[in-house]
C-alpha cells in the first residue's frame, strides 16, 4: 500500500475512520494461510479417496448433476446424436406416475379450485373441498366466477375475469363513460396486464385527442400506455402523446434516444442536428449540441485519416496502424486519438488537440491526463516534459502539474516509461516518505542515491528504520561519502531504532 504507515495512522486518528483496514493483518487475514495449509495437509492424507467417495455430485461447471440448467445442456447436446441413442430412458406412458408430493395442495388449487388432471387422481384431488377450505379459504373463487354463462359483466367483473386470464369481450363497453369506468376499475386493480389490455381496446376505439385527454388525469394508466407504446416501438404516437400532454422534455429525450439505432454515421449526424431544435432543457441542449459537433468532427477526421493511412506517406499511421474507427467514440477517447496522431497540429485544424480542448471546454486535468497518457504511449518523452514546463516570473522553468506527481508516475509507469524518465517525476513527489516508497517500487534506486541521497538517509533516520537504512547501504558505492555517513548513523547510540 502506497499510503505510508505514519500517514495512514495520522489519518485514522485525525478523522474518525477506523474501519476495514488491515492493520492487524498479522492476526486476522494471514490466518487464511493456516487454513490453506490445513487444507493442503489433509488433502495429502485422503488423496486416493478423493475421486470415488466425494460426497458432492457436481459437474465441473458446478451445477448439481440433475439440476435443470445442467440438464438443458445435457439433453440438448444429446439430441444431436439422437438417432443413435436416446438421451434418457423413456418412461412408459401406460403407468400413470403417482405424485410423490408430501404436501397435498398446490398453488393452483388454492387459486383456481380443483385442477383438471388426467384420468387418475392426484393427491390434491383426493382431498376434499373442506380441506382446501381449511388451508386457503381466502383464496377460493370469488362469487363472480360462478356467473360464467352470463355475458354482461359489470366493469368490476370484467376486470376480475381479465385478471384470471379468462375470455371476455370488451366490445360491450361502447360509450365513453363505460369505457372510462372500465379503465378506472382496471387501474384500481393495479394489474398492469389488465390495464394494458383495456388501453389497447381504448386505443382502438377512441380518437387520439380524447384518449390523451383522459389519460392526463389518470397518471397510472398514462405510464402504462407510454410503456406499451415504447415496448411496441410506436415512436410516432408516443411523441404525439408527450407533446399533447406538454411533456416536451420527455419527448425530446425520447427522440434523441432514437439516434442509438441509426448505424450510418452521416444519417446519425443529420439526425442529431435535427434534435437541436427539440425542446430540451438548456443543460441537456448543450450536451446534445456537443454530441452533434463531436460526431461531425469525427466524420471529418475519419475521412482524412483513412486517406492518410492508405496513402502510406504519413509515418505515424505506418508505425502505429489504427486499431478502430474513431466514429462514435466518447469525447475523451477522441482527444486521446488526436493527441496520439495529431499532436503538433496548429490550433486551427479540427483534429488539433488544443482546438478540441477549446471547443468542448475540457477541464485542465482531463486534458492533461489524456495528453500525458497519449504522449507516454508514444514514448515521446520530450512532449511529456514540455507538458509540465512552466516559467515563473524570473524566467526559471520548473515542473508544474494539475495532478499529483504520484498520479503522474502512475500514468507513466502504466505506459512502461523507462526508469530514467520515471525518476525525474518520482523526485518531484512532495512527501518524502511517499517519494521513497515510489522510488523503491519503480526501482529508481539511483535517484535516491545520487540526487537525493542526503534526503533519503535523513528520512530513514527520521523514520528510525534501521532495516531500510541497512538495505540502502548495500546500494551505495563502496567507500563513498554516503557509506561513511550511513555507518556513522548506524553506530550512533543516540538513535532509538524501531527495528
Amino acid at each position: 500500500m502506497i499510503k505510508s504507515k505514519v500517514d495512514e495512522e495520522d489519518y485514522w486518528h485525525s478523522s474518525k475512520f477506523k474501519a476495514f483496514t488491515f492493520d492487524d493483518e498479522d492476526d486476522e487475514l494471514s490466518r487464511l494461510k493456516e487454513s490453506r495449509q490445513a487444507v493442503n495437509n489433509i488433502r495429502r492424507l485422503v488423496e486416493e479417496d478423493d475421486d470415488e467417495d466425494d460426497v458432492e455430485r457436481i459437474s465441473w461447471s458446478g451445477e448439481p448433476v440433475g439440476s435443470i440448467s445442467w440438464s438443458v445442456k445435457e439433453t440438448a447436446a444429446s439430441s444431436q446424436r439422437a438417432d443413435r441413442e436416446p438421451a434418457f430412458p423413456k418412461i412408459s406412458t401406460d403407468t400413470p406416475s403417482i405424485s410423490r408430493s408430501q404436501s397435498g395442495y398446490s398453488l393452483s388449487s388454492l387459486f383456481k379450485g380443483k385442477p383438471k388432471v388426467g384420468n387418475f387422481q392426484t393427491f390434491s384431488d383426493a382431498l376434499t373441498d373442506s380441506s382446501v377450505r381449511l388451508y386457503a379459504p381466502e383464496l377460493r373463487k370469488p362469487k363472480s366466477e360462478y356467473k360464467d354463462y352470463v355475458s354482461d359483466w359489470s366493469p368490476e367483473e370484467t376486470v376480475q375475469r381479465l385478471q384470471q386470464g379468462k375470455a371476455v369481450s370488451l366490445e360491450r363497453f361502447r360509450t365513453l363513460q363505460d369505457k372510462l369506468l372500465l379503465l378506472d376499475h382496471a387501474i384500481a386493480a393495479h394489474d398492469g396486464n389488465v390495464i394494458t389490455a383495456v388501453l389497447i381496446y381504448l386505443k382502438r376505439t377512441l380518437c387520439k385527442e380524447v384518449l390523451f385527454r383522459e389519460l392526463e388525469s389518470r397518471q397510472t394508466a398514462l405510464r402504462h400506455f407510454i410503456h406499451y407504446l415504447s415496448e411496441t416501438q410506436n415512436q410516432r404516437l408516443l411523441l404525439e402523446l408527450h407533446r399533447a400532454l406538454g411533456r416536451a422534455e420527455d419527448a425530446a429525450l425520447l427522440q434523441y434516444k432514437e439516434h442509438l439505432s441509426i448505424t450510418d454515421e452521416n444519417k446519425r449526424r443529420d439526425f442529431l442536428k435535427n434534435c437541436l431544435s427539440l425542446p430540451f432543457s438548456a443543460e441537456d441542449l448543450a450536451h446534445v449540441q456537443d454530441h452533434y459537433t463531436l460526431l461531425e468532427r469525427q466524420i471529418i477526421i475519419e475521412v482524412t485519416d483513412r486517406q492518410a493511412e492508405r496513402g502510406g506517406k504519413v509515418e505515424i499511421f505506418q508505425k502505429f496502424p489504427r486499431k478502430a474507427l474513431i466514429l462514435n467514440m466518447p469525447l475523451i477517447t477522441t482527444l486521446y486519438y488526436c493527441c496520439f496522431y495529431h499532436y503538433a497540429e496548429p490550433e486551427g485544424t479540427f483534429s488539433s488537440p488544443l482546438n478540441i480542448r477549446q471547443t468542448f471546454k475540457i477541464s485542465e486535468k482531463q486534458y492533461f491526463v489524456t495528453a500525458l497518457a497519449a504522449r507516454a504511449k508514444l514514448k515521446a518523452w520530450l512532449d511529456v516534459d514540455a507538458l509540465f514546463a512552466s516559467r515563473n516570473w524570473l524566467g526559471f522553468t520548473r515542473k508544474k502539474s494539475p495532478l499529483s506527481f504520484q498520479r503522474v508516475v502512475d500514468i507513466l509507469q502504466k505506459n512502461s516509461a523507462p526508469t530514467h524518465v520515471l525518476q525525474d517525476y518520482v523526485a518531484l513527489v512532495d512527501d518524502g516518505e511517499l517519494r521513497l516508497t515510489l522510488a523503491q517500487k519503480h526501482k529508481c534506486h539511483d535517484i535516491v542515491i545520487s540526487v537525493r541521497s542526503a534526503d533519503a538517509v535523513q528520512t530513514y533516520r527520521d523514520m528510525k528504520d534501521r532495516q531500510l537504512l541497512l538495505g540502502y547501504r548495500g546500494k551505495v558505492v563502496r567507500g563513498s561519502a554516503e557509506e561513511r555517513k550511513i555507518d556513522d548513523l548506524l553506530s550512533n547510540p543516540q538513535i532509538r531504532w524501531k527495528n
Binding site: D27, D53, S67, I68, P142, E283, H291
Partner: protein, 618 residues
C-alpha cells in the same frame, strides 16, 4: 473430483431432489412453499398428456432450479429440454412442445419464428406456452400479430411469485421491479407482491399486524386488504406463523445498496455476482494438483459453486465481516485437521470402523473448507488492494458527511482513469444522497465529465438516476442527512468486526438505515422516531388484520415473535446479514424472515436503471 462418469449421473439425480432440506431449518418452514410450487408444476405437466420437450427461456432455468430438478420433469414425461433460440426447433420425437418463458415481447418473436419454421406436413406436435410468473396480454397480442397464436393448445401461467432461497429468505427475482416502480411508475410488480403475500398467508396464516413505510408499501398494503375483502366470508383457519409484516420501500433507504458490502457473502456478490444461489469464480485457485500430474490441464471454465445454508461452514461464515473470516476458517481448519488425526488413535476394529463411517462427512467438510479458503484468498487479493481501500475511504467520508458538498478528487481521478461507469455512478449517487442533493455547480461538473469520458448518450442514464431520486440538484431545503444519521445512529465509531454487538459491523461502521428502521420498530417502536420518519419519503402506517377467535396465539414465556420484512425494490446480502444478526441477539425477542422483489447490490441496481447499459459505441 468434479468430473463424473455418465453412469453416476442418473442414479444420483433422484437423491438430489431432497436437497432442499435447508429450507425447513428456519423458524418458518419454507419447504411448504416449495412443495406447493412443485405440485403446481406437476399439475401443469400432466395437463399436456404424452411425451414432451421443454423449450426454456434460459433466464428461468436458474429460478426453476430452486424449485425442481430434472428428475421431477422426467417423471412427468419430459424427455428433452432445449434453450429458446431462433430458427427451427431441434428434432425430438415427442407429442408436446412446451415453451417456458417470461412474458417478454422479444421472446414471443423467437417463439413465433420457431413455430413458423416447423414442417407442418410431417409434424403433429402440440404446442403449449407456460408464462412465468404471469400471462401477458401484450405477449399474446404479439403472437396473434405474428399469426401463431392459434397454434397453441394451451396458454397458461405459472405463478412463481416468491421463490424460497434459503431457510429465512424469499425472493421474487423480479429484476426490473425498482425501475418499474420508481422510474416508469408501473405498479405491476406491486400487484405481484400483493399476490405473493396472499399466497404466503394462505399457507402460513393471516398476518395480524402490517407496518409499512413508503408509497409502494402503502399500495401493497391496500391491495392486500382489498384482496382479503374480496374473499370476505371465509376465514383462514391456520394458526398464524408470522406476527408482523413490515413493508419497506427501497427508496426510503437509497443509501445502503450504494455502499460496498463488507460481509463475506456481500463481498462475494459485489465482486463475482451471486445469481440464483450460484457464483462463478475464476478456476485457477480451485485446480487440484496431484503429485506427478503437474499442471497440465488447468481448467479454463469458471468454477461454479452453490451457496446456501445447507453447507454448514458457509452458514457459519457468510454473514461475518470479511475481516473475521480468516479467523473462522483457521479455527475450522484446526478442528478438521484434528478429526483426521484421530485415525492414529483408532486402534480397535470398532474405532477404525467408526472413523471410516465419519469419513464422508469429514471429507465434505474438508472440501467445503478448501473452497472457502480459496474464495477468501481471491477476495483478500481485492480487499487489500489500494483501489479498494481508496474507494472505501471515500464511501465512508460521504456516509459520515465529510466534504459532501464539493467535487471529490477521487471521483475525478476515477473518471480520468476511465474506471467502470457504474463505479462512478455509485459514488456520485452516494454523494448526492448523503448531501440531500448536490450543489448545482458540483452536479454540472460531474455530468460534464461523465458525458465527455463515457459518451453523450449516457445523458439518458443520468436522467433516469435523477428521476429515481438517486441523483438530484440541491433544493432550498436544509440537508437533513446529518439529522437522520445522528437520530438513527447510522454511523458507529467502534464497529466491532470480530465480535459484533451492533448491525453496523456489516459495513464496518455504517448501519443500514433500512435495518435500523426494522430494529427500532421492534423496540422501542416508531413513535420514538416520528420526526425522522417524516424526513424520509412516503407515508408510514400501521394496519391490523382480524383473526378469527381461537387463532390468537397464546405466547409461551420467552417465545420469540416473528416478523416478515419485505423489501420492495430489492435488498442486499449485507442487509440480510444484519437482520440475521438481530434474530440471533439473545434478548431481541424477534426473529426475522426476509422477502424481496430482487436480491441486489449497488452494481446490479444501478445497471437496472441505466438506459442501454451496453451501448453499441462501447
Amino acid at each position: 473430483m468434479m468430473r463424473l462418469r455418465r453412469s453416476h449421473l442418473i442414479c444420483c439425480a433422484a437423491s438430489k431432489e431432497k436437497m432442499a432440506a435447508h429450507l425447513s431449518y428456519g423458524r418458518v418452514n419454507l419447504n411448504i412453499l416449495r412443495e406447493a410450487a412443485r405440485k403446481e408444476l406437476r399439475e401443469f405437466l400432466d395437463k399436456c398428456a404424452g411425451s414432451k420437450a421443454i423449450v426454456w427461456d434460459e433466464y428461468l432455468t436458474g429460478p426453476f432450479g430452486l424449485i425442481a430438478q430434472y428428475s421431477l420433469l422426467k417423471e412427468h414425461e419430459v424427455e428433452k429440454m432445449f434453450t429458446l433460440k431462433n430458427g427451427r426447433l431441434p428434432p425430438a420425437d415427442v407429442k408436446n412442445i412446451i415453451f417456458f418463458v417470461r412474458p417478454r415481447l422479444e421472446l414471443m418473436d423467437i417463439i413465433a419464428d420457431n413455430i413458423t419454421s416447423e414442417d407442418r406436413h410431417h409434424s403433429s406436435r402440440d404446442f403449449h406456452i407456460l408464462f412465468v410468473p404471469r400471462r401477458s396480454m401484450l405477449c399474446e397480442q404479439r403472437l396473434k400479430e405474428q399469426g401463431v397464436l392459434a397454434s397453441f393448445i394451451n396458454i397458461d401461467e405459472y405463478i412463481l411469485d416468491l421463490i424460497p432461497y434459503d431457510g429465512d429468505l424469499l425472493s421474487m427475482e423480479y429484476e426490473s421491479a425498482f425501475r418499474e416502480c420508481y422510474l416508469e411508475n408501473d405498479q405491476t410488480s406491486l400487484y405481484h407482491t400483493a399476490k405473493g403475500l396472499m399466497t404466503l398467508q394462505a399457507l402460513y396464516g393471516t398476518i395480524p399486524q402490517i407496518y409499512g413505510k413508503g408509497e409502494c408499501a402503502r399500495l401493497v398494503a391496500n391491495m392486500m386488504l382489498r384482496m382479503k375483502r374480496e374473499f370476505a366470508g371465509s376465514q383462514n383457519q391456520i394458526l398464524p406463523v408470522f406476527d408482523t409484516l413490515l413493508l419497506l420501500d427501497r427508496n426510503v433507504d437509497l443509501l445502503t445498496p450504494l455502499a460496498t458490502q463488507l460481509t463475506y457473502e456481500g463481498l462475494i456478490d459485489e465482486i463475482y455476482g451471486i445469481s440464483n444461489g450460484y457464483v462463478k469464480l475464476p478456476p485457477e485457485k480451485f485446480a487440484q494438483k496431484k503429485q506427478g500430474e503437474g499442471s497440465k490441464d488447468l481448467p479454463t471454465e469458471p468454477k461454479k459453486l452453490q451457496l446456501n445454508s445447507a453447507e454448514e461452514l458457509y452458514a457459519e461464515i457468510r454473514d461475518k465481516n470479511f475481516n473475521a473470516v480468516g479467523a473462522a476458517l483457521s479455527k475450522k481448519a484446526k478442528i478438521i485437521s484434528a478429526a483426521f488425526e484421530e485415525r492414529h488413535n483408532a486402534k480397535t476394529v470398532g474405532e477404525i470402523k467408526q472413523f471410516v463411517s465419519q469419513l464422508p462427512h469429514m471429507q465434505a467438510a474438508r472440501s467445503s473448507l478448501a473452497n472457502h479458503t480459496s474464495i477468501a484468498e481471491l477476495i483478500k487479493d481485492i480487499t487489500t488492494s489500494e483501489a479498494f481501500f481508496d474507494n472505501l475511504t471515500v464511501e465512508q467520508e460521504f456516509m459520515t458527511g465529510v466534504d459532501t458538498d464539493k467535487v471529490n478528487t477521487y471521483i475525478e481521478d476515477c473518471i480520468a482513469q476511465k474506471d467502470p461507469l457504474i463505479k462512478i455512478l455509485r459514488l456520485v449517487c452516494m454523494q448526492s444522497v448523503c448531501n440531500n442533493g448536490l450543489k448545482h455547480k458540483v452536479m454540472d461538473y460531474y455530468k460534464r465529465e461523465i458525458l465527455q469520458t463515457y459518451g453523450y448518450e449516457h445523458m439518458l442514464t443520468l436522467n433516469n438516476l435523477e428521476k429515481a431520486g438517486l441523483l438530484k440538484p440541491q433544493t432550498g431545503s436544509r440537508n437533513n442527512y446529518p439529522t437522520i444519521r445522528k437520530t438513527l445512529k447510522l454511523w458507529m465509531e467502534d464497529a466491532n468486526e470480530q465480535n459484533p454487538n451492533d448491525i453496523s459491523y456489516v459495513y464496518s461502521g455504517y448501519s443500514p438505515l433500512s435495518i435500523r428502521l426494522t430494529q427500532i420498530l421492534a423496540r422501542p417502536g416508531w413513535r420514538s422516531i416520528e420526526e425522522v420518519l417524516k424526513m424520509l419519503p412516503g407515508p408510514h402506517f400501521e394496519e391490523r388484520q382480524q383473526l378469527p377467535s381461537g387463532l390468537h396465539k397464546k405466547r409461551q414465556q420467552g417465545e420469540n415473535r416473528t416478523t416478515l420484512v419485505f423489501f420492495l425494490g430489492g435488498v442486499t446480502y449485507a442487509e440480510i446479514a444484519a437482520l440475521r444478526f438481530l434474530s440471533q441477539v439473545e434478548d431481541s425477542g424477534m426473529e426475522y424472515v426476509i422477502a424481496t422483489t430482487k436480491l441486489i447490490n449497488g452494481t446490479t441496481w444501478i445497471k437496472s436503471l441505466m438506459d442501454r447499459p451496453e451501448s453499441p459505441t462501447q
